[in-house]
């Protein structure tokens, strides 16, 4: 197995479970299950035991491996700098073997099958990929400056489709030249990769890369941090080298050059807190971009949660768990914990910049009966509301 040589070096000291100030559990799988087996260190030891034949593959072991949300908290906080960068990759490599052996949890199998057979996990025909853009006058990509890559969640999940619309409308308002692929867009493959299905990922990546190349795409704006991560960090090894931006990068660059803040008129002050997504934050070390945008917005006060930036508590949706739900249910799952933490700040809005986080946290706010205290907004939606208050009602 790739990275096998680091497994025995884990001391199981447990820094990987915690944020920097050690205040609470910051690993979604361990937070939910609370058995040591679901901690990063426990997983390291179990992978080794499994490879050595000391324990056998079982439904439980599969649950242990596939419940990892790939949030990267372990990588961020492990004290062993000589191998910590490889911890998550070791977990993915172990999942890869299970995938090759065909012994994986049914929800994982179903997810991968749906992506393979339908090109997306929703089993919705490809031709409906651009439905989110209906009535927006968004053009197919031809020779615009940017390709707006929406991804599976933004294309098919009703809540995330609204986020995609919001981002597209903002780009239009800012005069950005962009187009979309519509039915030619394929799944970005980020979740397939983290679930250990590297071959499927390669297939999806190569398909997208081919499409991008045929259309002469050079610059890509992604809706989702997951897509951003896949295209930026993992497409290059399959020949896909593009300039990739998350949409927030573009907003942070363009908004300060406008007079939108001045034009927005007087508004009721809003207290917001920001949830750093794992794939913009720990995986790509970008914490400042969304905060720059929030700072630009009128009548917007940012109050940070105790766990923010590199210490952000993952919503639990990464590593395919948004679709497989291995780590998502129950009051002690990370999304409800995160929603309560956000409500505790006194903010009225919990802001995200990821469609997956948006849905996970919105569900958690609802299931935790926190709606009276807290609402979830995707950052683009807040930008729209604050800068174009009348248009936001449309």
């Amino acid at each position: 197995m790739q990275h096998e040589e680091i497994l025995h070096r884990c001391f199981r000291c447990g820094f990987c479970k915690l944020p920097a100030d050690y205040s609470d559990i910051n690993c979604p799988a361990y937070l939910k299950y609370r058995f040591e087996s679901f901690s990063p260190g426990g997983r390291m030891w179990l992978i080794r035991a499994w490879l050595n034949g000391e324990i056998q593959n079982s439904e439980r072991l599969q649950e242990v491996f596939f419940s990892c949300a790939t949030c990267g908290n372990c990588v961020e906080h492990c004290i062993f700098s000589k191998f910590r960068d490889r911890i998550l990759e070791a977990f993915i490599a172990a999942k890869q073997i299970m995938v090759e052996q065909g012994s994986i949890p049914p929800p994982v199998r179903d997810y991968l099958t749906r992506v393979f057979e339908h090109g997306n996990p929703y089993k919705i025909p490809q031709k409906k990929r651009a439905d989110w853009a209906e009535g927006l006058d968004v053009e197919p990509y031809k020779d615009q400056r940017y390709l707006f890559y929406v991804g599976d969640v933004g294309s098919f999940d009703p809540r995330a489709m609204a986020v995609a619309r919001s981002v597209a409308r903002l780009l239009q308002k800012l005069g950005v030249s962009f187009g979309i692929l519509g039915a030619r867009e394929g799944s970005d493959g980020n979740e397939a990769r983290t679930l250990g299905e590297e071959e499927l990922f390669r297939h999806l990546a190569e398909q997208n890369i081919r499409t991008f190349a045929e259309l002469g795409v050079e610059r890509i704006i992604t809706l989702s941090p997951h897509g951003y991560n896949a295209i930026k960090n993992h497409y290059p090894r399959y020949g896909g080298d593009f300039q990739v931006l998350h949409y927030t990068h573009l907003l942070a660059e363009l908004l300060p050059k406008t007079d939108l803040r001045e034009k927005s008129g007087s508004q009721t002050p809003r207290r917001v807190t920001f949830h750093d997504s794992c794939y913009m934050g720990r995986h790509n070390q970008d914490y400042e971009t969304p905060r720059k945008i929030l700072q630009f917005l009128p009548a917007t006060e940012l109050v940070e949660m105790e766990r923010h930036m590199a210490d952000s508590l993952c919503c639990g949706g990464g590593g395919g768990n948004f679709f497989t739900s291995l780590v998502c249910s129950g009051r002690e799952a990370s999304a409800p914990v995160r929603a309560r933490e956000a409500a505790g700040t006194g903010a009225e809005l919990l802001i995200t910049s990821c469609p997956v986080c948006t849905i996970m946290l919105e569900d958690a706010v609802a299931s935790g009966n926190l709606q009276d205290q807290l609402q979830v907004r995707e950052l683009s939606e807040l930008v729209f509301e604050q800068l174009f208050p009348s248009a936001a009602q449309d």
Binding site: R9, E36, V64
Partner: protein
């Protein structure tokens, strides 16, 4: 009803496992000791659940091994004869801090890191004694194994800081010890017969502690590390005596590492603190003066250019001491925690180096002076978990350093099973019998962590 079903009835299905994945992990720790065998892993949330588990275990004659952070490294929480491992970490509530009376009331699963962080945020004038262990170590287990922390040289070892306890006895009764047995105030464990002594140092063979109140201490605003360096090992007992006699240190270590070369000296690391900058400066000046020309020699020198990594190592609470586990790129670490009389330091120093060399290791020392009466002398062994020979060498080195500890008139802190045997063999027989009698009285069915403090002879 099966044992598994009965456990599920008590704590719920998601909090019990008899799956090989969990049993594998809960049958071993990160030290060099061989694994044991767990049959069930249970994650209780309340003392009442634990009571019910204990009653079940008595009825079915099943051993119980309570587990905190699992970082004692010497197999103390590795089940020796199967049964239930009780992972206490879901009992993680900080129930309150009484600033006026300076104690925190916490459940058994509260980690060192969580308490430290909580105090920092809500009671920044107070601190608890934080051990060198990783922040996932639990506060309660550390007090129960007579651990020590970053203010122990000033205030004593951590078990002395227990102001009250809630304990589930091996027969199922939930009992309270200290002022909390009279009312809801948890501020002091005496004046009363000191029943806490029935549970401190017994490795859970006499009961399961579910809550403690822990004494807190003032946290000065200013804290600095001073280091003095010497190669005159024989001078160390006098230097320790005088440093402690001056009575201004908050923490005090002796360290040495054979590699890199600049670390291959004895360093006396004195950590001072003060509520005022002037107070801190005065303390620093006093120590510099004390050790300048100490004993009429120039063999102790102040280290004016302390390596930043070393300074950070001793200022960080807790420090990243676990890094020692990767010295041999192998994730393994165990040590003999020798509680030695201070006058035995030079002899222990030399013999520890000899043991390390005998087993092909580079010697690395971190010793903490405890008040003025003893020193926790660490015979440290990093090993490669991927190499059975390396593990065996570590085990042999441990056995030798345990023996040296006893030869030098010391005691072994949280020793592994062979070390406990050595101690019991050397112990005055009536004392060893008393230990056995207390265990039998409190735990008539012998269900509590069997094999620990158990005299094979």
């Amino acid at each position: 009803m099966t044992v598994l079903d009965a456990l599920v009835d008590i704590v719920g299905k998601d909090r019990v496992s008899d799956n090989p994945a969990e049993l594998y992990l809960y049958s071993r720790d990160s030290g060099a000791q061989p694994p044991g065998r767990a049959d069930y892993v249970v994650l209780p949330k309340t003392a009442e659940e634990i009571r019910d588990i204990v009653l079940l275990a008595n009825r079915r004659n099943i051993p119980i091994t309570p587990l905190g952070g699992g970082l004692s490294l010497s197999g103390l929480v590795v089940p020796g004869r199967g049964g239930i491992v009780l992972d206490m970490k879901r009992m993680d509530r900080i129930l309150g801090v009484d600033e006026k009376n300076r104690y925190a009331l916490i459940e058994a699963g509260v980690s060192q890191g969580a308490l430290k962080s909580y105090l920092q945020k809500h009671h920044p004038r107070l601190q608890h004694s934080t051990p060198e262990a990783p922040p996932t170590a639990t506060v309660v287990a550390n007090t129960l194994i007579q651990g020590h922390g970053h203010i122990s040289p000033r205030y004593g070892i951590n078990s002395d800081m227990i102001a009250g306890m809630e304990v589930v006895l091996p027969t199922g009764e939930i009992t309270r010890i200290g002022s909390c047995s009279l009312n809801e105030r948890w501020f002091s464990r005496g004046p009363l017969p000191d029943l806490a002594g029935l549970f401190v140092g017994w490795y859970a063979t006499t009961g399961i502690v579910t809550r403690i109140s822990l004494k807190l201490f003032p946290k000065p605003d200013f804290r600095e590390v001073m280091a003095f360096q010497t190669d005159d090992i024989d001078l160390l007992p006098d230097a320790i005596e005088e440093i402690m006699h001056l009575d201004m240190a908050e923490d005090f270590f002796l360290i040495m590492q054979e590699k890199p070369d600049w670390m291959n000296h004895a360093f006396l690391v004195v950590i001072c603190s003060g509520h005022y900058k002037e107070e801190l400066e005065m303390k620093k000046a006093a120590y510099k003066e004390l050790l300048s020309g100490f004993a009429g020699k120039d063999s102790i020198r102040f280290v004016s250019d302390l390596h930043p990594a070393l300074e950070k190592r001793f200022l960080d609470v807790p420090p990243l001491a676990a890094l020692a586990a990767d010295f041999r790129e192998g994730g393994g670490f165990q040590y003999t925690g020798a509680i030695l009389p201070i006058d035995q330091v030079p002899e222990a120093w030399r013999r520890g180096i000899a043991i390390a060399h005998k087993y092909g290791m580079i010697c690395s020392y971190v010793h903490q002076v405890l008040l003025g009466n003893s020193i926790m002398f660490g015979f440290n062994y990093s090993f490669n978990r991927g190499d059975p020979e390396d593990i065996e060498k570590a085990q042999m080195a441990l056995e030798e350093s345990n023996r040296v500890t006893l030869e030098l008139g010391g005691m072994i802190w949280k020793g592994e099973k062979p070390a406990q045997q050595m101690v019991l063999e050397q112990m005055e027989p009536n004392t060893a019998r008393l230990i056995r009698r207390v265990q039998e009285f409190l735990d008539p069915n012998g269900i509590m962590n069997p094999g620990k403090w158990e005299f094979d002879g």
